[in-house]
Amino acid sequence: MDLGLTETQQMLKSSAREFLESECPPSLVRQMEEDERGHPEQVWGQMAALGWCGVAFPEEHGGTGGDFMDLAVLLEEMGRSLLPGPFFSTVVLGGLTILDGGSESQKREHIPSICEGQITMTLALVESGGTYEPWGVEAQARRSGDGFTIDGTKLFVPDGQIADMFLVAARTSEGSDPADGISCFLVPSSAGGISIRPMRTLAGDKQCEVTFANVRVPESALIGEEGNGWPLLERTLSRATVAKSLEMMGGAEAVLDLTVGYAKQRVQFGRPVGSFQAVQHHCANMATEVECCRYVAYQAAWKLTEEGPSDLEVSMAKAWISRSYQRVCSLAHQCHGAIGFTWDHDLQLYTRRAKAQESLYGGPGYHEDLVGQALGI
């Protein structure tokens, strides 16, 4: 048993924290909420230069040859600093899916550009059903000529407004099992017929409605087997779920630190509020929550790194952290009083994201059900 990071991971983590504290302050986070593109391109370029985009890709494709666990420490720190922009969507949703299910030529074509930060990608999966289950995929991809024509409306597409390429899930045939007949396509945003509209969200992040109307793509746009795209997407969702859990865990840590710092410094009744037992116990509870979050998130990341997607650990992480992070934020607000509710205070940035993230890649109830399935109950 080894519950610690490797020395390299620790170094990566602390340099990431240092970089993000300096380059991604809360002011940038606020600014990007208002910004139409929500993409801090300078930071993005610097991260690419640091090799972050390629951390989980093999050297042969331009990466640095690390694994998901190395990516995990970056995701935690990005969650901590609420990094806006397309890292998650490009690397976790896009790149790792191509690495997992793409052909050699697709990998050669796209992964080096991802590692260099030259292109952005995202996943267009969810539709009006608001679900990550296969029945929600209603978009159609019909064979036409030597390619396909895609029609459908995707919702909650992260960073769709700046994506160079969309991974699109669409039906190429119908089967009795809703998971059958789904195919994945890599569609450049420049293809004709795509319209993109950011939705107005709680976290002020950029999740888009993306409509595909008669969008033509060649045969080579297909990632993986025609009609058998769901297993690939399922693995992508599993990675995304763990990645989101790691981000949330990093966020929860930040909220704890923010609160403990405030409790030490804020004076009422002639003493720091952190000397009141009620505040102390709130902080103790938050710290315990965060410790739990850390273990369940790392366990899921480790399991995924070692053995690939595993429902039990992955869903346990997302379910636990989704609920735990809410409790952490709620206690943090109690410790902060009115100031934490103001726009200019950083706490609310986390609180809003915590609730949004709760729903992303499956809410806690959804993942609890998956835990039950994995346990056979």
Partner: protein, 391 residues
């Protein structure tokens, strides 16, 4: 015992609901107690109509032009206004300033200030909290120095809801810096148009604007605007603080949100079933329903006690804590139920229930800290209510 409304209360309820049905635009989804920036004119016009109906001040004693209605009737009014998300109530003027003046004000002050409040023609705000004085309100530092017939006031107030709309502010200011902290404070009425008063918005988590910071820079106020004795302002100012501790609004908002979301999940189909048929959805709605109804009982319990001449001290704090925490749970669970769609705010085409749920969820984080944090309320319950010794 009788848990029903009296026939007279039901008649009032019918009239009020009819009035709101006529006055509120179809599909109205306002915020209720506080006006939003874009409905201030509507708020003012509705307030005027409520005043004309006599409802705004119906709980005032008859000698001041009220109807002396029971606290239960008053709770019912607040409940329906909140449930229907109707703006127009004025808690600062009608429910805090006026009753305070009735007790402590001079005849002149009553004459000058009560009528405009009753007519719904004036907006008051409450200048209590300061940046350094939140839970420890009595440590406030804003100074009022006597100068001839005036006080000259310097300092700053924060969390001043509606200050940007207000005509007057009721202010707690320190008039004696040598006295123990509760004994050197005075309660002073200040015209917001007085030179030296500036208001700066403090935007909240929703991006909205209720709060302000109010700066007082050599603000000169005539001494006749002092309410009660000089240096006794703490006792004047906290008399009505208890009113703020009612949980009726929270339970009403909770019940409305639950009702809206229940309708939504019954009418929304996913994968061939309604959302309501998901047992997790159903169980969350049931649990929150039970809590919301219980919160409502606590709130009416406070009103009933008041009507019986009892002083619901710990009960008011219980109602406030339980109501506000229930609202946080209700909105949190409803967002969980709405899933991805719960993220969508008003103005987004795909947003269910006009984005009301995330909005009320965000506001819930102010309810558990405003007007005395849950922790302060628990202190009150323990010490004043249960007689546990001070720490």
């Amino acid at each position: 015992m009788d848990f029903r409304l009296s026939a007279a209360d039901e008649d009032f309820q019918t009239s009020l609901l009819q009035f709101l049905g006529e006055e509120l635009p179809p599909g109205w989804e306002g915020r209720g107690r506080w006006a939003e920036d874009d409905d201030w004119d509507f708020t003012k016009s509705l307030r005027k109509k409520l005043a004309d109906k006599g409802w705004l001040t119906m709980h005032w004693p008859e000698e001041y032009g009220g109807q002396g209605v029971s606290p239960v009737r008053s709770a019912l009014f607040n409940e329906e206004m909140s449930y229907n998300r109707a703006p127009g109530r004025d808690i600062f003027g009608v429910r805090m300033l006026a009753p305070t003046l009735m007790i402590y004000g001079t005849e002149e002050q009553k004459k000058e200030f009560l009528l405009p409040v009753a007519k719904g023609e004036v907006q008051w705000c409450q200048g209590y909290s300061e940046p350094g004085s939140g839970s420890d309100l009595a440590s406030l530092q804003t100074r009022a120095v006597a100068d001839g017939d005036d006080y000259v006031i310097n300092g700053s107030k924060i969390w001043t809801t509606m200050a940007h709309r207000a005509d007057w502010i009721m202010l707690l200011a320190r008039t004696d810096t040598d006295a123990p902290k509760h004994r050197g404070i005075s309660f002073i009425l200040v015209d917001m148009k007085t030179p030296g008063v500036t208001v700066q918005p403090v935007h909240n988590m929703t991006g909205g604007h209720d709060f302000n910071q109010v700066f007082l820079d050599n603000v000169r106020v005539p001494k006749r605007n002092l309410v009660g004795e000089e240096n006794r302002g703490w006792y004047v100012g906290v008399t009505l603080l208890d009113f703020e501790r009612s949980g009726i609004d929270y339970s009403a908002i909770s019940r409305r949100i639950l009702s809206d979301v229940t309708e939504h999940v019954k009418n929304t189909r996913a994968n061939g079933k309604t959302l309501a048929s998901d047992t997790r959805v159903r169980n969350l709605l049931i649990d929150r329903y039970i809590e919301s109804e219980t919160a409502r009982l606590l709130a009416y319990g406070v009103a009933w006690m008041q009507g019986e001449g009892m002083v619901p001290n710990k009960e008011a704090s219980m109602s406030k804590v339980f109501g506000s925490e229930t609202l946080q749970r209700v909105t949190g669970s409803c967002l969980e139920i709405l899933g991805l769609y719960g993220q969508l705010r008003d103005g987004e085409a795909w947003a269910p229930i006009r984005g009301r749920v995330p909005e009320d969820w965000m506001h819930s984080f102010s309810h558990t800290v405003a007007a005395g944090t849950s922790e302060v309320q628990r202190n009150i319950i323990a010490s004043r209510g249960l007689g546990l010794p001070r720490g």
